[in-house]
Subunit: 121 residues, 2 copies
């Protein structure tokens, strides 16, 4: 595998081609992992979902409280909660008529904290 391409059809920086292909083939995650990674970050790429997460950083909250605090419709919040739940960023628990949502794990905090560090520079 990874044979030398002497007829590099690209730019003149020929020296790197072989090594680059080799290294990339070794370190690049599988196609479906790349897809999952992008999917995960897509979930963080919406300010409504980010705001939901910031609320859940502080407390376990039911849907209607989330909607009230964030000043959005119950339906919009519920739709976004489903997306957060599908991606295992939040979990839910029923208590009577209400359903309470909370953070699923602490990666969420870490990822968002890293994002904040990045934009604050």
């Amino acid at each position: 595998m990874n044979k030398i391409d002497l007829n590099a059809e690209c730019c003149d920086c020929n020296e790197v081609h072989e090594d680059l292909l080799k290294i990339v083939n070794e370190t690049m995650p599988e196609e479906n992992e790349l897809y999952d990674l992008a999917e995960l970050f897509k979930v963080f790429g919406d300010s409504t979902r980010i705001r939901i997460l910031f609320v859940l950083f502080e407390a376990e909250v039911c849907v209607c409280d989330l909607a009230e605090v964030l000043n959005m419709t119950q339906s919009a919040i519920s739709h976004q909660l489903q997306i957060l739940k599908q991606n295992k960023l939040v979990k839910s628990r029923r208590e009577g008529k209400s359903i309470f949502y909370s953070l699923a794990d602490d990666h969420v905090r870490t990822i968002i904290a890293q994002g904040q560090e990045h934009i604050e520079e």
Copy 2:
């Protein structure tokens, strides 16, 4: 703490309203910071850009090599590089006709590593 909100206009979980509002108002970032955060994660939310970043984890690479290694058109790669650059995830350097791209800082690695940890569980 956790005072009761007697005028809760929402669901029956009245006790939390006041405190929740207070805490959220204290800890929720400003509107534009939330927007910037979401924008940043949106950049990670595309597998082409993720793949570009994985290549740049290993080496400083010119545009045509990126296009070749990732098997995509020069134009598509260039468009995505502009987005990565605007969000300060990569930087560029001209050398003759070529332009070499590299990671702008190490938050990129940390954020993606956290994402990988999350999906591998």
